[in-house]
Structures are given as C-alpha cells and as structure tokens.
Symmetry: C2
Subunit: 256 residues, 2 copies
Amino acid sequence: MIFCGAIRFMLQESHSSPTFSPLYRQIKSLILQGLESGEWRPGEAIPSETELAVRFGVSQGTVRKAIDEMAAENLLIRRQGKGTYVASHNDADQRAKFRFLRLIPESGTLDSPQSQPLEFWRAKAGQEASRILGIKLGAPITIIRRLLKFAAKPVVIDEIYLPGEVFVGLSLEMLQEHRGSFYGLLESQFGVRMIRAEEHLRAVAADRANAALLAVAEGTPLLSVERVSYTYGDRPVEWRRGLYLTAEHYYLNELG
Amino acid sequence: MIFCGAIRFMLQESHSSPTFSPLYRQIKSLILQGLESGEWRPGEAIPSETELAVRFGVSQGTVRKAIDEMAAENLLIRRQGKGTYVASHNDADQRAKFRFLRLIPESGTLDSPQSQPLEFWRAKAGQEASRILGIKLGAPITIIRRLLKFAAKPVVIDEIYLPGEVFVGLSLEMLQEHRGSFYGLLESQFGVRMIRAEEHLRAVAADRANAALLAVAEGTPLLSVERVSYTYGDRPVEWRRGLYLTAEHYYLNELG
DNA sequence: AAGTGGTCTAGACCACGAG
DNA sequence: TCGTGGTCTAGACCACTTC
C-alpha cells in the first residue's frame, strides 16, 4: 500500500499527447495486465472498485467505467453484493461452458454435447497453419480430431490445430479424462483463456470418411465451420474446422 | 416547456415496487416511445442530453446512461460535437446499409450486392407464417423472391415473407426502382425499422430450380439461412429464407 | 463563441449477499 | 451489520463541430 496515490503520476496526464487515451481506458489496460499476468485467475474475484480506485489513484467512477467495458466484453463478471470476478470457461453456468457453440437441437431440450476424441498427433506447421496461428513455418503443432455427440448421436466432427509451444504436455489422456468443455481444460491446465473467436461458415458435401462417422450418405450437405480463437491481446491460439450435421440441429446466430 | 420538472413525478418513485426498474431504464423507455411514435425519425437528431434531462426532470448523467444503452443496441448513434441521431438503414455508412448481411467474398474486395427481383405475389398466411410472424391464420402476406448478385455473379436466392397489413402498397415497381438496401426501403416507405434479427443456418442441397438460378449443379451444397427480423417491441415483421452459394463467399460470424 | 457529446470527480443512498 | 456493486446527482472541464 506504499504506492497508494503514487501510481496516479505514472498515468498519462496530457490530453495533447498524440497517443492520448482517456483515463478509464488506461485503467482498463492496467486491469487487463492483471488478468494476463495471472495476478487474478479465472473464477477468482478481483479487488473491489473502491480498492482499485485507491490503488490507481483515480475515482471509483473511473474504475467503474473501465470494469463496465470489460464486463461487456465478457472478460469480467459483476455480481452485486459479492464482487467482480474473472470470467471463466469453467463457470457453473452451463451457458458459459459452451459459449462458442451455436448448435441448437431442432426440437426442444438443450443437452450438453459429449466429446469423443478420435485422433491425436503432433506435426509441423504448414503455410496455412503458420499464417493463421501466427507461428513460424515448421513450428510444432498439435492436431486433435474428435466427434461431438448430442443425445448419443454423432453430429459434429472437429479438427483442431493448436500451437505446440503454447500447450506443451497436452495429451490424449487429458482429453479423455477431462469433464467439461475443451476451453475449460485449456484454461485450467495451460492458463490460456479464449476471449473471442471468428467463424467462417460454408456448405460442403460430406466425403466418404466423414459421412461414415456421422452415419449419413456420402455427399450429404454439411455445415463447415472454420474458427480462429483468440486470447488476450488478440493473439490467435486455436484454429479448428468443424463439420456440422444440420439434419436435426441448426446453427443459431443473433444479429444486432 | 410547461411540463419542465413535472414529468418527474410521473416516474416510478418507490424502490419497493414489485415492478421496480431504475430511473435510467424508465428514461430509456420514454426515449424508445419517441422513436416508436415517430417523434424522432431515422437519420434525425434527438434533443441534446441536457434538454432531455430538463424535459424528464432527471440529471444529465441519468439521460446519458439511458442513451449509452440505446447506442450499444444500435438504436441511436452518438456523434461528438454534433448530437445523438436515430440509427437508420439509409445511413451514408455502407456498413449500416447491409448490417445484417454477413456474406463476405473469399478474395478481397467487398462490393455491394445487386438485387434482382424475380417474383412478387400476395397470399394468405399458412400455419408456419402465422406462427412466426404473429398474425392470424389466413391474414394477407406478401412474398418476394429475388436474386442477389456479387460482381455480376448470382450468389443468393431470397424468399421473403412480409405481413401484408404492415406493408400495404408494397409493389414490384418499388423494389425495382429502389436504390439501396431492402430494409432502407421498408424504413423510408413504411416507417418500419428493423432492429435485430435471428438466423437459423443449415446446409442443404440445391434443388433443380435453385441450382439453375445459381448456375450450379443440382445437389450442390448451399447454406440455408432462415431469418426472422424484429422491429420495436420485439415484434416480428419479416421472415425470409436465403440460399447462399458458398463457393467464393463465406458467412462471417464473430463470437464474443 | 456557443453548443454538443466525452471524461472525471465526490458524495449520497439503495439493493444484494454473507456472516 | 458490513462490504460489495448499482443508481443518481451536481458540477467541472475537455474535445469536437458549427457558426
């Protein structure tokens, strides 16, 4: 607490600076640093608004505005009366667990998918993987193929590309033993939290192998979902391609 | 201005009310009423924050919070130094014009699609249309079929269902003559502004007729996009089904 | 210079959760 | 009862746009 009030002077003072950003954004990036550095881990509470205000030497309202933005970006979760928490893919909330999965059963009940790993191997990044993941050509990558089942029926085939240097020690056993979502595992085991993702959707025809896995005829139209996921600092750390069988499910998207 | 300060007493005073909502939300719904009633039309400026604060008998900060939320919902657009404007599908901004179209060309240049009306007829609402559009069975509906071309190539077939009682007088000529987006036309000609939409995506096979229109082989996988669009008060006013050819385009979705 | 939205502050009080 | 986030206020000053 020696620094109380002192940090204020380290913040940008001048409005005429060419790289000017408002105080609450500077506070925001300070809190972000705390998240990236692991000072506050997913699921934990960060200090109260008043405490952060004292620490950073600004008013409580300024801290509040910084936290408001981060809550809107799903980085933090506010709980009235309790505190502000670091968002996690391991929350009790089921919606948080499969936040990035937009596949909905045609008729009614939304049950959690069950993951069945098919293959797991290591390789070297080719042109496309190195470009998309922002790693060197030939850098180690880990590839996972898996099947997702809804109500015991196979519906999704995923092929997941991960930069090997980020997820060292990931193994097939970890995937098989893990309960919960894939991103929850990456978060708790490797400290890498997925913040946002970008998906490219296309309609494609099932080839022989994938058709067999999904128990449909070769050539059946499938929804191809290519996803790149990003962690703090917009750093890409996952590239995957999903093939969705949309006979009894649909992909839901809300347009604002 | 006779009512200055008086309206304040019409707002909810008690926090113990079972239907309690904070003051800024009440202000928000008052502004919303102004939008719905057409007091402020799309593209126009609403009164300044200070003026609204006086009119509603609350502080400027409370009005500000109400407007903040509405700007986040794309209902209003703030312009520093100028004022706050009602959002419109006819904005100069190209992004606003095709806000709901997520189809991106595979390679580079994003040019505006060109719409070519194919068919236009009136019918009576069946089971599905009446359920989705929230109108009576047998109520009049208007159906439009059209082709969307990117760079002179046919890429999208749309079939659009509109409640006839909302869009009386809509004609094929209006569609042919109109420059700009379809929603821009509905907004300027019928005063109905689309706020949000919900899309259900599936992969399907092209039938003979649609394959011919898109100049592809019968059975080619297409992206089926069913959309329900809502205006103020979450009232559904459009149901459409699009068939997207995703050979040289993809559907982009951002996951937060 | 005037008017608009944008930022920042300080303080009051309310609602919620936990002990 | 206490500490947390949530709401509301009043006032100061800054930045941008227009005149």
